[in-house]
Every structure is written in structure tokens, then in C-alpha cells.
């Protein structure tokens, strides 16, 4: 692995690169890119709204993968990464809902327009916030890890169903703007911001899983002194419990 000095700095590096990309992308989006014919200036919000949407989904997918990895493999570091993925996903989902309502007000005149993707994000936000609450209320590290992994899998499996049910439930309302309807002139800031938030998110997840890791270490006593750890490592059947 990279030397400790560099690995300590890695997450901050990712965050800085991400922030830089985000600043440039937003600058171009705000001042350089032409306003959209129909929606005018408000459309500039898209340069930060759409990347947030992609990345919040990515973070929760990462949490789902970490949950699977923990349930199958059982290494504590996957539990720490899942906790990081969930928290970062919730923060980005919250941000997305805020941006969404700011976008909806000038466009539809209401703060919340029940757009299927946005409503799905809101449901996801509540579902994964519930999992964070579950982790707070369970003390035993092993149970907390297994139960929140199970809850993550269940909540993640619900995403497509929530999306379709909200879409049908609200299908008469309006056609959503999908990226294809956006002409190429807008792609540069969109992509820059997308990578910007992506790097930011990776830095966040690395930092947050280290915090979770440190807390786990404080909760789990190190292996007892008597056993010389080498000969026990291979004999470990329930190794991670």
C-alpha cells in the first residue's frame, strides 16, 4: 500500500482536486455557457443538480456493495466503508432534494413537484437515514454491522420499485428533462462538475471510513496477548465476528 505519509494525505488530495474541478465547472456553467432557450438562467442549476444526482446514487451503490462484501467476506473494514457510503449518500441525497426544490420553484411555481427521480431520492434519503439511526441504537459492533448490512441491501433493492411506483403515480404530470435533451454546449461544465463531485465523494468516503475504522478499533479489543497471532490467523474460522 502507499506509504503512510501519502495515504494520510490521499483523501484530502481527492477533495482538493474535486473542489477545483467543481469550481471551474461551476464557473463555466454560471458565466460562460449560454443560457438555455426555454428556461433561461434557472437552467444553470442543472450543472450542479445532475452531477449531485449521479454521485448520490453512486455513493449508495457503493454502500450496497460494501454491505454485500461484509455479509459474504466479513471483514470489519467493509463495515466501515458501508457506514461511509451510507452517510455520504445521505448527505448528497439531502443536497439533491434542496437543489431540486430550488429548481422547482421558478420552473413549476411550487417547492416540490413530485418528479419521480426527486421523490425517489427523498424516499432514499429517509430510508438510509433510518439505517444510520439503526446503527446508533445498536451497541454490539457485530450485530450493528450485520443488521445495517441487511437493511442496506433491502433499502437498495427498493430503489427501482419506488421509482416506478412514483412515476406511475405521477405520470400525468410532466416529461422529465433527460440528459439527451441537453445540447452539447452544456456538456463541458456538466462533465467537469460530475468528476468534481465524484472526486470529492471519493475523498469523503475514504476519510469517513477511516473515522468509522478508528471507532471500531476503540470498540473492539485487540486480540489477546497470549495467542501469538500468527498461528491463530489460519485457524480462525469465524475470523471477523
Amino acid at each position: 500500500m502507499t506509504s503512510p505519509r501519502l495515504s494520510r494525505r490521499l483523501p484530502l488530495l481527492f477533495i482538493l482536486v474535486g473542489a477545483a474541478l467543481l469550481l471551474c465547472g461551476s464557473y463555466i456553467g454560471l458565466f460562460v455557457a449560454p443560457p438555455e432557450r426555454m428556461m433561461g438562467e434557472v437552467q444553470r442549476l442543472m450543472y450542479v443538480h445532475v452531477p449531485t444526482a449521479w454521485n448520490s446514487m453512486l455513493a449508495l451503490t457503493f454502500a450496497f456493495i460494501a454491505a454485500l462484501a461484509y455479509l459474504i467476506g466479513g471483514a470489519w473494514k467493509w463495515d466501515a466503508r458501508m457506514e461511509a457510503g451510507i452517510e455520504v449518500g445521505v448527505v448528497l441525497a439531502f443536497l439533491l432534494c434542496v437543489q431540486g426544490s430550488i429548481w422547482a420553484k421558478p420552473t413549476w411555481g411550487v417547492w416540490w413537484d413530485w418528479d419521480p427521480r426527486l421523490t425517489t431520492t427523498a424516499v432514499l434519503l429517509l430510508a438510509f437515514a433510518g439505517i444510520i439511526a439503526l446503527r446508533r441504537f445498536v451497541d454490539d459492533p457485530g450485530r450493528r454491522a450485520t443488521w445495517s448490512a441487511v437493511a442496506t441491501i433491502i433499502a437498495f433493492a427498493d430503489v427501482p420499485i419506488v421509482y416506478f411506483s412514483v412515476k406511475w403515480w405521477n405520470s400525468l404530470h410532466q416529461l422529465q428533462s433527460t440528459p439527451q435533451t441537453v445540447s452539447s454546449a452544456f456538456h463541458l461544465p456538466l462533465r467537469m462538475n460530475a468528476f468534481g463531485i465524484l472526486f470529492l465523494m471519493i475523498g469523503w468516503i475514504m476519510l469517513r471510513s477511516r473515522i468509522a475504522q478508528a471507532r471500531l478499533e476503540s470498540e473492539l479489543a485487540p486480540p489477546p496477548a497470549a495467542t501469538s497471532f500468527s498461528d491463530n490467523a489460519h485457524a480462525t474460522a469465524g475470523g471477523h465476528r
Binding site: L220, P223, T227, A235
Partner: protein
Amino acid sequence: MASPMIEARGISRRFGRRWALVDVTLSIPRGSTTLIAGRNGSGKSTLLRVLATAIRPTLGSATIQGHDLVAAQQDVRGSVNLLGHAPYSYDPLSALQNLQIAARFLEIESNEAVLRPLLARVGLEGRRHDPVSSFSAGMRKRLSIARVLLRTLPVTLLDEPYANLDAAGFTLIDDLIRDLHQSGSTVLVASHMVDRVAPICDSAVLLEGGRVASIGTGSAVSERISSNPDKTPPRNEQ
């Protein structure tokens, strides 16, 4: 010598910040009766719960009749009978109903005619239709004894069998241990009643702070305990 019934290698179990069991290595011969002695919190119950697959070892491994505790958990559960601290009872239901549930899951005869003598043996026949919620701790222990009597298995683990029992209950446990011994079942008894259990045991294990302090004949260990009950025995002798 026949392969040992229970073989434990470096069993450790962690509960968050505390190691309840540390590096326990044991070999229990087939058909023997072993006393597990030790102060409160020395790891007796944890050891029995690990061997009964109620909880998993954090480190190390063990086999019962050749079945690994974690890998072949269901096989182990088919050969280990646990009389635990917890009565494993459904409080809203009656004593008879509790036994019937256990019998149905074991897929053995579960009507009242078959179970009644069992309840009679543990002295609960009169109260068999009363809900377990109205039972005293001693009566709950008697119900779990009846539950253990449902099956005779190669290994029987008794965790503080004498706790909460009256004088009649004591003889009930003595008979149980003797019957199990005669039927060739390997018995592990975790108990504070060292002077009562030690004489009828083939060997004894003294646990101290989660570690095996010493293994010897029943009487040797009970002297050790009576000679310095408070002072922690010298470090691991082996």
C-alpha cells in the same frame, strides 16, 4: 484412545471491548463428565454457549464429534444439548405448550400423553397448563430441564444446573448427571457447587479470567479452589 468427543483449539470470544474467553484449548474424552469451575465472569457460560453454537468463537476453532462448530453448525446442534441460563421459554404460553413447541420442531411425538410424564419427573405436572409467565425462576429451570430431557444426545452441557433450585431440585440434577453418565453421554457441568459435583466428575477445568487456569481431577481442582478461593491462582501452569 478413541478420538475425543470435544476438541477445542485456542477458542477466544470477544464481547466488544472485553475478551470473555481467551485461548481455551481443551480435549474432552468421549463419555466423560467434566466440571467447569471458576468465579463469576471467568467465562464458564461463554465457553458452554460457544460449544453449544449459541454464539460463535471470535478466534480459534473447535469440533464436536468431528463437526466444526462454525462450518458444520447444524450437525453440532444435532449432537449437543444445552441447559442454559436462559429458560428459552414463551412466557404467554403454558409449560405443556412450550414443551409441545420444542417437540414439534424436533419432529418427535408432541401430544400431552407423551410429555406429561416428563413434566411429572421435573415436578411441573400440576402446573402444566399455567402460563410460564406465572412461574418462579426455579420452576422455569425445571421446565428447561424437561426440555433437555426431550432428547438424549452424545453431548450435554449444563450451565449452573443447581441455580434457583430447591433441595428436591438438587437431587433432580444429581440424578440427571448420573443418568447421563450411565447413558454414555459426554457431560460438561459449569457450576459453583464444586464440592457437590467434583466427586462425580472424571476431570475438572478451572477457568480464570477467561483462560484455562488448570486442568486436573475433580478433587484436585476443588482443593485448589478451597485453598485459595480469593487469590487468583498462579499464572497458567502448562
